[in-house]
């Protein structure tokens, strides 16, 4: 293992923020794995830290394939993590909306640019990321539909679902999108938690990455075969919105099967405890995303259901 300093941000009042990459093997830049780009992505950092731990062991056992190189970057925003903010610096910069960045730009753009210079020419790019709304996803790999994506590669993670998303203008500044623009096959892995460490879901993510690296011939590792992934498009999902605001009592979990007409959540009046609304499943399906915040506003998304599976 070789620790590489990728970028340093200097502050007048704090110790330098050093972004570090953990490099395994030598040769072709095969896989780059990135954890926390935001200060609340603790689970994402933890998954990478566990990968570093395992890859170190694999390397000392000679299990990194000859001529293959892996770079793991557990976090790029220690300054935000250590003060408990999602975004970076006084401008509240979202690093996952700062790519490809610029060498002459603002601090976040310079950081993104330096990272891109380092990460841009890997064959595979894997990022652990999070959603702006509090909630639980069924574990899945996400790819952007950029014309370069290859959903069958994403199946090799062996997670239950692969989601292919059409990029909106706001997505064009994400790491995933810019990786694909640099001809890196880019995958975003969504797991259950951000701010809390969830061991079970972390283990699943670690196993998925090791499985992928094994199947690509980058490492040698005994992997279980995992799931046969279903590929989903946005049109395969139906949003279930709350018709009123109040306290959210969710009754279905991510990954759960729901039946048409069955109650899946209640909105409770925050003053008198009465049930303002019972949300019923509008279709048979599987819960892809579940709102988990204890409060909900009118028309906020309570669930996203998979209403159709392609075989």
């Amino acid at each position: 293992m070789f620790i590489k300093d990728l970028y340093t941000i200097r502050s007048t009042y704090r110790e330098d923020m050093k972004v570090r990459g953990y490099q395994f093997g030598k040769g072709e830049k095969s896989a780059c794995i990135v954890g926390s780009l935001r200060g609340d992505e603790i689970q994402q950092m933890y998954i990478c830290a566990r990968l570093v731990h395992i890859l170190k062991e694999l390397e000392s056992n000679g299990c990194i394939s000859a001529g293959r190189q892996i770079l793991v970057i557990p976090e790029v925003s220690a300054y935000a993590i250590n003060i408990g903010t999602r975004f970076f610096g006084v401008y509240d910069a979202d690093l996952n909306r700062s790519f490809p960045g610029s060498r002459y730009g603002e601090p976040a753009a310079r950081l993104a640019n330096a990272l891109m210079a380092e990460m841009g020419d890997y064959v595979y790019g894997i990022q652990f990321t999070s959603f702006y709304m509090k909630g639980e996803f069924v574990p899945h790999v996400r790819m952007m539909e950029t014309g370069y994506q290859n959903a069958s590669l994403a199946n090799l993670f062996g997670l239950p679902y692969v989601m292919v998303r059409k990029p909106a203008p706001i997505d064009t500044k994400t790491l995933n999108f810019n990786w694909q623009n640099e001809a890196t096959a880019a995958f975003s892995v969504y797991t259950n938690q951000n701010e809390q460490v969830d061991e079970k879901s972390a283990s699943q993510a670690v196993a998925a990455v090791l499985r992928f690296l094994t199947r690509m011939g980058i490492i040698r590792y005994e992997s279980h075969s995992g799931y046969i992934s279903h590929v989903l498009y946005e049109s395969d999902l139906s949003d279930v919105n709350a018709a009123s605001g109040g306290i959210f009592r969710g009754m279905a979990l991510a990954g759960q099967d729901v039946r048409y007409g069955n109650p899946i959540a209640q909105i409770i009046d925050p003053f008198d405890g009465s049930v303002k609304e019972t949300i019923k499943a509008p279709t048979d399906g599987i819960v892809f995303f579940a709102h988990t915040d204890s409060l909900i506003g009118e028309n906020d998304v309570a669930y996203r259901l998979i209403h159709r599976l392609h075989e």
């Binding site: 941000i9 200097r10 502050s11 007048t12 999602r86 975004f87 610096g89 006084v90 401008y91 509240d92 002459y104 730009g105 603002e106 601090p107 753009a109 310079r110 702006y132 709304m133 909106a168 203008p169 706001i170 949003d239 919105n241 009123s244 605001g245 109040g246 306290i247 925050p270 003053f271 409060l295 909900i296 506003g297 009118e298 028309n299 906020d300 998304v301």
Partner: protein, 311 residues
């Protein structure tokens, strides 16, 4: 008359409400020659537009007989943000000016945004009034995207700002209100001035004079109009960005909105621990110092000043 454009229930005993003031000719709406919409407060920490909305309303109330068109004034598109000095939409922490055109069947903010757009459609002109952030001070300016410059420039020339900046990349993002409206054939200008979390009354009066000048040219206002100036028009290539190459405390040595010569010292970056000057920031070109940093703590890459170069 104050009208409600969107109203959605928040979790606990409150709604998010988007309101506008509709001013009409004394003879009624049917006598109107057209419609102008003023919006502000997409970014909750930008308050310059609050004075402008007030002052435009005040002048119309003083002489309602001169109004020959419909004037819709939206002081706060992001009312929760402006009420709490949050730039973004509180709780989801998303930039509202990256959510347009919204979705009438989407989540809460998607619907709010879609309702605003659908209400503004039908206007003959829309001015989206921003302030600078809390970090740099700006002269009154209109920012245009190159795509719509030809159509918008004649309106922009009437706004009495100091400068029209064509192709100012940061503000011409596809998901902004202005871009969405322009695509929908409502000419929309972005006005930028002053600084965050404050009101500069002099700049406000200048832009208000411009707004009445635009209305007068469009036949929406028949009253007297104060004398206005012709703005300087610039392209990206003529604007010089000066960024900090150090971390420290920036102390400006030049006044904002002044002409500088090449090599003039604009300011110093100092170290409060050692009592030393870390660097002197010099003007790379002569010209108008139209942006100047007011917030002293700087990182490498932070914007210190912008100069509109003299040809």
């Amino acid at each position: 008359m104050i009208e409600t454009v969107a109203k959605l229930e928040l979790p606990v005993g409150e709604h998010i409400v988007i309101r506008k003031n509709r001013l009409v000719p004394v003879e009624g709406e049917q006598a109107a020659n057209g419609r102008m919409t003023l919006v502000s407060g997409i970014h909750g920490d930008e308050l310059e537009g609050q004075y402008i909305c007030y002052e435009v309303g005040r002048r119309v109330r003083e002489h309602p007989e001169y109004l020959r068109g419909i004037l819709d004034i939206f002081p706060a598109l992001n009312p929760l943000g402006i009420d709490t000095a949050h730039r973004t939409v509180p709780k989801i922490n998303m930039d509202m000016n990256r959510m347009f055109p919204g979705d009438p069947a989407g989540g809460m903010m998607d619907r709010v945004v879609a309702a605003v757009v659908s209400d503004i459609i039908g206007s003959d002109i829309c001015l989206d009034i921003h302030a600078s952030d809390s970090f740099v001070r700006e002269i009154p300016q209109v920012r245009l995207s190159q795509d719509f410059a030809e159509k918008l420039l004649p309106f922009a020339m009437l706004t009495n700002v100091d400068m029209i900046w064509k192709n100012a990349t940061a503000t011409v993002h596809e998901s902004t209100l202005a871009h969405s409206l322009n695509v929908l054939n409502v000419p929309a200008l972005v006005v930028e001035m002053g600084q965050g979390q404050s009101v500069n009354r002099q700049y406000g009066d200048q832009v208000v004079d411009g707004i009445f000048n635009v209305m007068s040219h469009m036949g929406l206002w028949t009253g007297p109009v104060n004398e206005t100036q012709i703005p300087a028009v610039s392209d990206d290539g003529e604007v010089e960005f000066i960024r900090s190459e150090e971390t420290g405390i920036f102390l400006p040595l030049m006044a904002h909105n002044h002409y500088v010569r090449r090599s003039d010292v604009i300011g110093e970056i100092v170290d409060p621990y050692s009592g030393t000057i870390k660097s002197r920031v010099c003007a790379p070109v002569g010209g108008l110092l139209f942006t100047l940093r007011v917030y002293p703590v700087v990182y490498e890459g932070d914007l210190l000043a912008r100069i509109l170069g003299q040809p």
